[in-house]
Each structure stands twice: as C-alpha cells, then as structure tokens.
C-alpha cells in the first residue's frame, strides 16, 4: 500500500515538474483554459444539485455556476497574495490562477494514469457546463484539460492527492519559487467554499474600494444565504437566556430561567469566577511522549 501510494505520488511529481518548467499553452487560449478548468472546480465543489429538490426544496438546486463564481475565483486567486514585485503585474500580486489549473491537470492525469478514476474522462462533461453566450464548444473542447473532463467525484479525488507536493512556480522570471501543492486544494476547495457561502454574490462590485462597495444585506441577493437560512449580518439579537449558576458557586445568581441537570442551571444574573487555590501535584500526563 505504501509503495503503491509512493509510486503514484512520484508520477504526479514528475508530471508537475515537466509541466511547470516546460512550455505553457498558447497565450490566446490560456484565459479560456483557466476559466474552463475553474468552472469544473466550481461544478465539483458547489454543484447544481437537482437531487436535493425533493428532499430540501427547489432553492437548493442551483450551485456556484448559476452565480458566475468561476469568474470571481480567477480574480480572487490572482489577487490573493502579493510577492513584493510592486512594478510587475497588478500591484505586485502573484497571478496564481494559471499555474493552479496546470497543477489540477497534472493531478488529474496522475489519477487516470493510475486507474483510480471511477469514470472515463469525457470532454462532453466540459461542454455540458457551457451556457448561452459562452465560447463555441469547438474551442472549449480544444483547450479543456483532463481535470475538467473528469466526473465530479474524480475531480475531488484528483485534488486529494496534491497535499504532499512541493510546487515550483516561476513568478515573473524571478527564479523558481516553491510552494506546497496543498495550497491548490486550499484555494479551490476551502476558499471556494468560503466565497460561495459568504456575502460575496450580493456586492455590486467587489473590486471597488471597500468604502465604495454596496451590499444589500438581504438573502434575496445571495443565493447561498437562501440555501443556509443565514439571515445576513445583524447589529444584535435579544437572545440572552442568562448565565450559568449553581447554589454553591459564585458564577451566577438570581431566578432560575431553566434547569440543566438538577445542580446546574441558567440563572438571571452573572456572578464571577472564583480565584481558587490550585494544586497540581497529582497531575499525570494522559499521553506521555
């Protein structure tokens, strides 16, 4: 088993190295390639889920693509870290989206090479994610990489094998810079989930300076808030039940609002913690090193 994993990992590693130090795809197709791949990411992480309609209601069907999250993800990822080259790129930020999607394809290729995919890669999966006004299917078929062609679950499986690698990126020709491929998973799963479930969709324009942005703070403007039942930010709630108290502790006092277990209850007024004597001589390490 260990050997099996190790061989698999070393295959991904070789693929990564050749990809990242080798030729980049044709510039004119690069943007489309990035977008198509991130579309496949969004489709795997926060998919459209018709199967939830009966169980939970129709508002739970649309996913990240219905709100155009893939486009925001590109700018978000490209602006997320700055790396001290104030004269290059946007304010010295590190444009990570292109290397990121190449890494996703490297991982997908390794998954397939090892036969750990549950379904065959199929370019029609990519085409199925196109909507009206998108570039022609022919161009999309040409740029789509392996990652986008995988089934949703296989895309997630491919992400799962990235954590153990060191990646080398060459930002602005300043020499190779290494970072951990786990960052890729963090960006396309963790950050993607945070963006989707946050207030993001409600902004008129997130790229405006903070003092000029407007947000209606209304679930009507944020699909994910309708799916979670989160009501938006609030200034306060009249939600106080009281303070923890017992008959023989100074923690709380006053009328009992509710009983917890016969000894401890929730009472009206707060008391304070005790400045108690302490004795650690009986301390035993639960798990000695």
């Amino acid at each position: 088993m260990v050997l099996h994993v190790r061989r698999w990992l070393s295959e991904v590693w070789e693929r990564l190295e050749s990809l990242l130090t080798g030729e980049k795809p044709d510039e004119s197709d690069l943007d489309l390639y990035v977008e198509v791949t991130l579309r496949a990411v969004v489709d795997a992480v926060v998919p459209e889920t018709p199967e939830l309609a009966d169980e939970l209601g129709p508002e739970h069907v649309p996913g990240g693509l219905a709100v155009g999250m893939e486009e925001f993800l590109v700018t978000f990822v490209d602006d997320l870290f700055q790396f001290g080259f104030p004269h290059v790129g946007t304010r010295g930020n590190l444009p990570l989206s292109a290397p990121l999607v190449e890494v996703l394809d490297a991982a997908a290729d390794a998954l397939v090479a090892h036969g750990d995919n549950e379904a065959e890669p199929d370019v029609e999966r990519v085409v199925a994610l196109l909507g009206p006004g998108d570039p022609p299917a022919r161009r999309v078929r040409r740029v789509a990489g392996t990652f986008a062609k995988l089934s949703r679950r296989d895309r997630l499986r491919a992400l799962g094998i990235l954590d153990e690698f060191e990646l080398r990126v060459a930002p602005f020709g300043h020499g190779l810079f290494e970072f951990d491929a786990g960052l890729v998973g963090q960006l396309v799963v963790g950050f993607a989930e945070m963006i989707y479930y946050s207030e993001w969709q409600g902004y008129d324009d997130f790229s405006l300076p903070p003092s000029e942005r407007t947000h209606p703070n209304d679930p009507a403007a944020v699909q994910s808030w309708r799916q979670t039942g989160y009501p938006g930010v609030a200034d306060g709630y009249a939600a106080l039940r009281g303070y923890v108290g017992t008959d023989d502790s100074p923690l709380g006092a006053g009328d009992t609002w509710t009983d917890i277990d016969g000894r401890v209850s929730i009472v009206r007024e707060s008391g304070s913690f005790r400045e108690n004597d302490y004795d650690t001589t009986g301390y035993e390490e639960p798990y000695p090193e």
Binding site: Q186, E193, Q227, G229, Y237, E285
Partner: protein, 571 residues
C-alpha cells in the same frame, strides 16, 4: 513626525505589543510602536485601505467609534480580506508564508493584530502546563498577579448563555462532566468562557420583549450578534472605547496613548534589527529599520531597548533575517494547538424539546461562549460562525480526504473528512440546526516545528517565513481523545448526525517560537543579544496547555515591561 530616538521601540501592535507599550508609557518612558498593518478606527486614516493617510498617532482623541463602524462591516469575506496579514492597500494581496499541506496560518495585520479576529476568550493557562510540564523556567504563581491586571483591563467576565451554549452545557452535563467555576483549572469540566467582551445589556433577555435598536446608547455592552472574527464593532454607534469586545486595540491601545508617552506608527514593516558590539562579544540592540508599506521608503529609528512583538511567525523571521547570533531554538518549538472540528446536526423536534426552539441559530450570541477544559489534553469550545468562515474552517480541508472516501465504521462520528459537492450543500442546508465544536489540543514544543527562512525566497521585506509543522504521536493522541469527547457531548445533547473534519494543521493560535528558557531568559530578554526583549506569544515556553493563549501572552508582556524598567530604567 516620528522622532529619531525613543527609550523603547516596540515592533508590532498586536495582542501583546500594546500591553508592553502601555506599561512602559506608564513608567514614563518614551515609546514608539511600529505596526506593519493599518490603524482602523482612527481619524488620521479615514480610508485606511485606500489612502496612505497620516504618519502616526499619539492621541486618544484620534480614536473614532464611527470610523470603526464604517470599516468593520462584519461581512465575512470582506473582513477576512481586510484583516488577514497583508498590506493596508486593498488592491494588494496577503503577505505570503509557506505552510505545509492544505492547512493555513491565520493572523492579522493592523493595530490590534490578531485580536482583531479573536473571539475574546481569556482563560488562564492550565497551572499544570506551567508547573508540571518541563518547559517553563518560571512558576504559574509568578503569572497570577499579571493575569489579574490583564483581566481587569480587558473586563473579563463569564460569557452569557444563548441557545447554542445551553445546548452544549446540556450535552456536557449529560455526558457526565462537572461544572468548573474557578479561574485556575486543574480538573476536567465545562464552563462559560471567561470572555473579554462586555456582558450584554440585560434588556436583551429573551423574556424582556425588547424591540428597539441594537445601537448605542439605546443598548450598552455586547449585542449578541456574531462578528468577532469579522471585527466586532458592536454596539454600533458607541464611542471607540465603549465597544464591547476588548481586543487590544480597544483595551490597551487607548490606555497606552493616554499615558502621553506612546506613539503608534502603522503601515511600518520592520525589516532589520540594528546592533552594536562594544567591548565584549555580546551584541546589544540599538534600533531598527522599517519600510513604509505605502511609499516603500525605508527609515530607521534608535532606541535604548527594543521589544519584538510581531507575533510568533514574524518575530523569529525578523531575527533570522537580521545579522544576529545563531541560536538553535530561534523559530523552533512552535506550537499551534493542533486542532480539529467536530459538528453536530440536530433534528428540529429534538431541539424543540431540549432548548425550546427548533433551531440553534449559531449566528446569535457571542461567537465562542462555552468551553470544556481538560488539563493535559487541551480544550473544546463551541463556535458560532457565519456560513462562509464555518465552511472554510470546518469543512474545507481534511487530512483524511473527502468524506465520501471514508467509512468511519464504529467511530463516534457518522462522517469523517472534507466536504464538497452535494454532501456539503446538504449539511449546510442545516446551518441553522448545526453547532460546531473546535478541538484545541495541548501540542508540545518539538524542535522540528517552526519558522525558517532561505535566501532567494523573499518578498519586499526579505526572506519569507517557511513554516513547518508535524505533530508527534502524543499530540495526535491528545487531539483524538478530545475529538471523541466532543462527539460524546454532541451526541449526549441529542445531535442526530456527528461529523469530524480531521482538519489539517491550521494555526489560529501560534506560540513558543522564541521560547523563554531557550531563546529568551526569565525576563524575556534574549540570551544572545542585550537590550532585545520579546513580548508576544513567541516567548511562551509552550502552548499553555491548550487554553486560549492571549491572556497568558498579555500577562507575560506586562511582566516583561516591568522587567525592562527594572533592568534598564530604574533610578
């Protein structure tokens, strides 16, 4: 204008730096605090993320609650983007650090530092972690008077109970644990958080029928709306110093400015430490160089004593990037409270019968207001989050892969791993019936863990921190045991589904990278460099047992300030 010389320069206005600045200012010393990030809620910087603003602030009259209200919108994505460690300029990304796996370091830049994010939980260290573990050269008893001083300044009181805390307490009691009511914790049990957040206005009791605004002066104190991680400006409308959360920008910065001896210069990233070696081989700190993050201009300032308080990643980075003597423990022995997330999902009817309402509504009440302590293992705490932060902290990553790949079998949780796709959407559709418990373990200092730098991998402030973290077997066992206890408590509280994330190492609490007894002496002065003190969480000798660290970091910084006066400015 910032002067060319001060008695003391403090690097970093985070959780602990302002404590030292306040005490030193009170002692009559002239103090300059250099902070890499912006100064929110200050008239000198009306648009701190958009314009460079003024150079420095020395007066409490500059502080503005109105500006805090404007700048701290509590919208989660916007506030993470504003507060996480990076330059003030909103068009520029975070400062990059390298961290293993798909974990992350969560720290803030700005006056207040990471306490801008923090949830105000101010327990003391577990006495045994100081007196019985082998790391500390001082006794718990040495810290107690300083705890009292800090707790008074931060107005620490028992946290209020709303629905989610009642649910947790019911589970903890039903699982057989006792209530703790003391400040010095030696036995396992549950209790309300000792929080540095003013208690809510009594009129906000569920029975009181309050239907007014949640703004000052109609209400005073906390308003029981989630928002600590997103800045917490409540109650809105209140003057700066009447904000309920006593983060260090609200508690210690005004106190420091009020001494009349302290100047704060934000947007100033310190990049090197100046020393002189006179007579013997022992270098002494004489000042720093720093870079203005808006203009890029580099300046320098001299001092009699230098205090590093840049946090447990940047303090060792600064040492390593300066031309200082090698010490094999600089940057090493990092503890991060190797954590995990365990959540419960309830059926509406079960909630109705236990807490009298069919939702938990984790967005009501203080973010973190209930806890479970277990000296020797660490702690658990309930966490209310808005859905986005909840997703990234609780579900977005795992060391066990995706939940669909795991069959937890007879484990105490029903599902294990990272969530995405329809599983994620299904679980989050129950957001209002979910309660998340954060597992915080007492991981121990190991030399392999910590911060290094290599030439070449650098940003505009020099080589960036490369952070390594690999828990030991004992660290894992402590965390696993706590995760089981969390699952038992949630189950005993009636949860119908329990999920464990098995989160990768994620650093919300970072300590012990310049440890007392290893890099600094008992007064927190560096063994190898005179007149150089450390007053942030990096000086902690271990992870204080797994309790939230800020009370201890601040207590130690207060003690260090007294030692500085004793050693260099007495008489």
């Amino acid at each position: 204008m910032v002067a060319a010389h001060y008695d003391v320069v403090v690097v970093g206005a985070g959780g602990d730096g302002p404590v030292a600045a306040w005490k030193l200012g009170e002692a009559g010393l002239s103090v300059l605090v250099l902070e890499a990030g912006p100064f929110y809620g200050n008239e000198q910087w009306p648009k701190p993320n958009e314009q460079p603003g003024a150079e420095s602030s020395s007066s409490v009259d500059d502080l503005s609650g109105r500006l805090l209200d404007e700048q701290f919108t509590t919208r989660e994505l916007e506030m993470i983007r504003k507060l996480v460690f990076g330059p003030a300029d909103h068009e520029r990304g975070f400062w990059l650090r390298k961290f293993p796996g798909d974990g992350a370091i969560l720290q803030c830049a700005g006056v207040g530092g990471t306490t801008l994010h923090y949830t105000g939980c101010h327990p003391r260290a577990y006495p045994a972690s100081i007196d019985e573990q082998p790391h500390w050269p001082v006794d718990y008893a040495d810290l107690v008077p300083y705890y009292r001083e800090i707790e008074a300044m931060c107005e620490v009181t028992p946290a209020p109970v709303t629905a989610k805390e009642e649910l947790f307490f019911r589970g903890a009691a039903a699982a057989g644990w006792d209530l703790i009511d003391g400040l010095n914790v030696t036995e396992p049990g549950y209790r309300p958080q000792p929080n540095a957040i003013r208690q809510p206005d009594p009129r906000l009791h569920v029975d009181a029928g309050y239907d007014g605004d949640f703004t000052y002066p109609e209400v005073d104190g906390d308003t029981l709306a989630l928002g600590s991680i997103a800045g917490h400006p409540f109650p809105r409308g209140a003057p700066y110093e009447e904000k309920a959360k006593r983060a260090s920008n609200v508690s210690f910065v005004p106190a420091a400015l009020r001494t009349g001896n302290v100047t704060v210069r934000p947007n100033a990233f310190v990049t090197s430490i100046e020393t002189e070696t006179a007579g013997n081989d022992h270098p002494e700190a004489t000042g720093v160089r720093f870079r203005d993050t808006w203009s890029g201009r580099v300046e320098s300032v001299d001092c009699e004593v230098l205090v590093l308080a840049a946090g447990a990643i940047e303090t060792p980075r600064l040492w390593l990037n300066a031309d200082l003597p090698k010490n094999e423990w600089v940057g090493r022995g990092m503890t991060i409270h190797f954590g995990d997330n365990v959540m419960g999902l309830w059926d509406a009817a079960d909630l109705e019968s236990s807490i009298g309402q069919d939702t938990v509504d984790q967005f009501q009440g203080q973010d973190i207001a209930a806890r479970f302590d277990y000296p020797g293992l660490g702690m658990l705490q309930t966490v209310g989050t808005a859905p986005g932060i909840g997703a990234i902290l609780g579900f977005g990553s795992s060391a066990s892969g995706f939940a669909f790949e795991n069959d937890p079998d007879d484990a105490p949780w029903d599902t294990l791993g990272r969530l995405a796709g329809s599983e994620l959407k299904r679980l989050l559709s129950g957001y209002r019936r979910t309660l998340q418990v954060l597992v915080v373990s007492d991981d121990r200092p190991h030399r392999r863990n910590g911060v290094t730098v290599v030439p070449g991998v650098e940003d505009e402030h020099g080589p960036i921190p490369l952070v390594n973290y690999e828990p030991s077997t004992g660290d894992r066992q402590r965390r696993d045991r706590l995760a089981e206890i969390a699952a038992e408590i949630l189950r005993a509280a009636g949860a119908s589904h329990v999920h464990r994330s098995d989160s990768p190492p994620t650093a919300l609490h970072v300590h012990s990278t310049m440890a007392m007894g290893k890099v600094v002496d008992e007064a927190c002065e560096a063994y190898d460099v005179g007149r150089l003190f450390v007053a942030d969480h990096s000086a902690l000798a271990n992870g204080v047992g797994g309790a939230n660290p800020t009370n201890t970091g601040q207590a130690l910084a207060a003690r260090t300030a007294d030692k500085i006066v004793e050693r260099y400015f007495a008489g």
